[in-house]
Symmetry: C2
Subunit: 260 residues, 2 copies
């Protein structure tokens, strides 16, 4: 048994030290969120849901790598190209961590990713940017929404999985770069703003439609989202979660100078 | 010895310590190769040649990143895709080191790369692989030739530049991966070998034609190659170098099961 496991002991310890400052803030969490992977994964349905989550996230990173590398071709300058290549490379390293984690918990990474290939490829196919600015808006909007979603889910995960998910969602520098470039373009030609606002709405619509496809297909993952497994997560809460994500999207679009 | 060489002080020092054991094996080298960057760069022509070399190598890595990311789309499996993405990411990190070095010696990386964009983009445009195997052969052949060439040049560089050039030429794992996959494909269908042999010849031809373009355009770099600056490098030696590179290519093709 590794140091990360220790099911019962860790649970007792959490209870015993619940009010004292915990380095990993475990005291804030209840239910599954208060457990580590070894304890939480004893429930096969929870385990299946996490494998789905890691598989979706891993393929998402690999697809993001490809998309950003592709968008790098549209870059107007060599410095911009290098910036996109850097983001792509960061996504690849996130992919590596997720893939290695799947292997570590005894899962075949490819099998875990396969169920999400169609939805993610479908999203990228339906939203291929036609120019550099559309690519930047997509990188920014897409990653922000995905990041919001996984951050919401992360709060309901066991401590080990949560740590990994939060680590790979670390800002890869998209935001600042994209916001600066897009704002400058709108300043230079305000009509660009209208076109990009439409584009951002299309991205959001396509993301929601592909998410529904995944939710319909993946029982374990969906059950976790609506509270069957992960603690304190009911249907009303899912609704509120989507509201929060949409709201954050609207705020980001405003920050970008776009009406959402 | 030309103006190429160092300030007199450095020359004296090199001579004085020429036979004593040097930790960086400097004793094996003579002329510019026995100097560090600070001494060698005092010659503006040598400096310009190195800036060209680093610029060409940096853009080469960035272009290789793009090409490998693009080829990743052709991958038949997710595992193959991840393997190509890993190579692409490795090339990007090489690019970062070269770019940072250009900045460190007070050069604008973009300006240093610009002169080589047309030739490298031209090469990639003329040799876009039409399938996964052609992509693998290109990654293998292209990187091997480039690597041979830079290794030959490296031996004539100042110690600091040489160290960097050799470090970024470190195997990124292309060879083993590509050789295994291509051999398996030829075993499964020997006709594939004929097609890929033709392809490899086309790659070599296009690489030579683009190299000539660069040599014709870049005075400082060419002068270094034919011995005007870097010590002990004359026209006959350049001829021998190209022979060695072509010979190594032929051997590699045979190892791959292809007639070169």
């Amino acid at each position: 048994m590794t140091s990360s496991d220790k099911p019962d002991k860790a649970a007792e310890k959490t209870t015993a030290t619940g009010t004292s400052p915990a380095p990993d803030a475990r005291a804030e969490h209840t239910g599954v969120a208060a457990q580590d992977w070894a304890a939480a994964a004893a429930d096969p349905q929870y385990r299946a849901a996490v494998v789905d989550l890691l598989g979706a996230l891993a393929y998402g990173e690999l697809a993001a790598f490809e998309r950003l590398a592709e968008d790098a071709k549209l870059a107007p300058t060599l410095a911009d190209k290098a910036e996109l290549a850097k983001m792509a490379s960061a996504e690849f390293h996130h992919f590596e961590r997720l893939r290695d984690r799947l292997t570590e918990i005894g899962e075949e990474p490819t099998s875990a990713m396969e169920p999400f290939v169609a939805a993610l490829d479908g999203f990228h196919k339906q939203t291929a940017p036609s120019d550099w600015l559309e690519g930047l808006v997509k990188a920014y909007v897409g990653d922000s929404i995905a990041s919001d979603f996984y951050r919401e889910v992360a709060a309901r995960l066991d401590s080990d999985t949560r740590g990994l998910v939060l680590a790979v969602l670390d800002d890869t520098g998209h935001a600042t770069f994209a916001v600066e470039k897009v704002r400058a373009a709108i300043d230079a030609d305000p009509r660009v703003g209208g076109r990009l606002a439409l584009w951002a709405r299309r991205l959001m619509g396509e993301a929601l439609s592909q998410s529904q496809r995944v939710v319909a297909d993946r029982d374990a993952l969906s059950t976790m989202l609506v509270g069957g497994v992960a603690d304190g997560f009911d249907l009303a809460e899912v609704g509120r979660m989507f509201s929060r994500i949409t709201e954050a999207h609207t705020k980001r679009m405003a920050a970008l100078g776009l009406a959402a």
